[in-house]
């Protein structure tokens, strides 16, 4: 396997982008990544998108995006793993470069979620859960994570304040992110008094509906060096699935897919979790961030909530989580999220995170954890300074 680098990144602003279509979004992010990387060609393209078919009636993304990027006959494919589609695209691009099959591959992610009604979006998102044994009975996404939250609170005494602290911290970071959907701070009280969606999760515990795209260019370390632009190394990639339905899992308080993916990624990188300086974690709901930090070993089981309250995951904490603002403040255009996480890790490792959210202690190793549905799949990547 060859050594792989990320040599350029790009993303659109995340938000309700009425003027931009699915293809507009993707092309904007892709062109930005190509420009920032200094490459003059790409050999192949992998696009992560959960369900452009249900959101805007468009499939065959490989073809349409290659067409609109103006690259004739480009091999391009679309991969899907619900909300982990972006991370999966990154992994497949990594494999293609590492294996020697291609030299320069773009990993992109996009989702256009606002052309459809709220009901339509809810229906589309619910396809990530078990249609027959969860969705049929009236389960929603917030509902599934609420089931995890209740189990977690029951087992470990995790509190409502701990959940709110995740949202507050992520907005603190997101307020400094020029691409964030909600670039402003919020308070604990605002979270705790926002409208209840599925007990105990309130609207401010939930990531929003968002349009957006992100793209990164992967190539060999050798080529990256020659290009002369800032690059980082991809040293670990891990991918795991778990039972799709919550009730099929042994432990409702942990995300086994994240644990397995992290184990594989860390092993590949020759590292332990203690070697990681910061991470982008999939906070589709506040409880998700807490559960994942425990599942990948950043905190002991049951101690994730306490850590947030104490400020250990803040920018100046012992283990900063979601310096980008996370899905909560930055936004969650489903297929783009996994790639946007890589964009943030790249910025932090190359010292280019904007507006004061750059970690001050010279981070060397970052982790990106992306997951699909209620934890039915997870992708974890380890990235390091050049």
């Amino acid at each position: 396997m060859r050594d792989v680098a990320v040599v350029g990144v790009g993303m659109t602003r995340f938000g309700e982008l009425w003027e931009k279509s699915l293809r507009d979004l993707y092309v904007e992010a892709a062109l930005s990544a190509i420009e920032n990387s200094g490459v003059d060609r790409i050999d192949s393209m992998i696009i992560g998108c959960m369900t452009s078919g249900l959101f805007v009636g468009q499939e065959h993304l490989g073809s349409i995006m290659a067409d609109y990027l103006g690259i004739k006959h480009l091999p391009a494919s679309r991969v899907e793993s619900a909300c982990a589609s972006g991370g999966l695209a990154f992994r497949h691009a990594f494999i293609e470069v590492a294996s020697g099959m291609s030299d320069i591959v773009m990993a992109g992610g996009v989702e256009k979620m606002t052309d459809i009604s709220g009901d339509g979006a809810t229906y589309a998102l619910a396809t990530a859960a078990d249609q027959e044994y969860e969705v049929f009975h009236g389960a929603t996404f917030p509902g599934l994570y609420a089931l995890i939250a209740v189990a977690h609170m029951e087992k470990y005494g995790t509190t409502r304040d701990m959940l709110a602290a995740v949202a507050v911290k992520n907005h603190d970071n997101g307020s400094m992110n020029p691409n964030a959907q909600y670039p402003f701070k919020i308070t604990m009280d605002m979270v705790k008094s926002s409208v209840m969606v599925a007990d105990p999760l309130r609207i401010l515990d939930c990531s929003p509906i968002t349009d957006g795209a992100a793209a990164v260019i992967l190539t060999t370390v050798d080529i990256a060096k020659k290009l002369g632009k800032a690059y980082i190394k991809v040293t670990g990639s891990g991918h795991a699935t778990d039972a799709i339905a919550l009730h099929s899992r042994d432990d409702l308080t942990t995300i086994a897919a994240a644990t397995a993916a992290a184990d594989k990624a860390l092993k590949m990188a020759g590292k332990t979790i203690k070697d990681i300086d910061f991470a982008e974690v999939h906070d589709c709901f506040t409880i998700a961030e807490i559960a994942v930090t425990e599942s990948v070993g950043i905190f002991e089981p049951g101690k994730g909530g306490e850590a947030v309250l104490k400020g250990e995951t803040a920018l100046d904490g012992s283990f900063p989580i979601n310096t980008s603002g996370g899905l909560k403040s930055k936004g969650h255009p489903v297929g783009a999220t996994g790639v946007a996480q890589i964009v943030e890790v790249y910025k932090q490792l190359t010292g280019s995170a904007e507006n004061g959210r750059q970690l001050k202690n010279n981070p060397k190793v970052g982790m990106a954890q992306n997951m699909g549905g209620s934890g039915g799949s997870s992708l974890v990547h380890i990235l390091e300074v050049a």
Binding site: Y133, G138, A139, T140, A149, A198
Partner: protein, 131 residues
């Protein structure tokens, strides 16, 4: 709801038919083609028991369109008396009275109604076990 899909699900929705692995004895609901425990491929039908305990629950307040009239409604994951876990709505009780560990039984109910002219989807729901 779609006719063929509903009809195919009757054994599970109407009769709680699960599959018991002939090799390791694990009971799977729904029944599958491959046992996730031991990889074996032979199963016999086992009917789930109708009582169990709540493992976790939530109250859905922002509901998908087919369920808006029912909101707020509770959904729960319960472990039935033979160790099988499944998810269903938990009805006939005040949502404030639900507790982890509460005993429930299964009742046959309408789960979804397709507006005015579609087919009716029946299945199982949990109710508190009060007798």
């Amino acid at each position: 709801m779609f006719s063929a899909r509903d009809w195919r699900e009757y054994p599970r929705r109407y009769r709680l038919e699960a599959g018991k692995c002939k090799k390791c004895g694990k009971v799977l609901f729904p029944a599958r083609l491959v046992c996730p425990e031991c990889g074996a491929r032979e199963f016999e039908t086992e009917i789930l028991l109708e009582t169990g305990k709540v493992l976790t629950y939530t109250v859905i307040r922002v509901a998908p369109s087919q369920f808006t009239d029912q909101a707020p409604y509770a959904i729960a994951i319960a472990e039935l008396t033979n160790g099988v876990k499944l998810m269903a709505q938990l009805v006939d009780c005040d949502v404030d009275d639900i507790k982890v560990g509460m005993e429930v039984r299964i009742e046959f109910r309408r789960v979804q109604t397709d507006d005015h002219h579609g087919i009716l989807s029946y299945g199982y729901k949990f109710v508190p076990k009060w007798y």
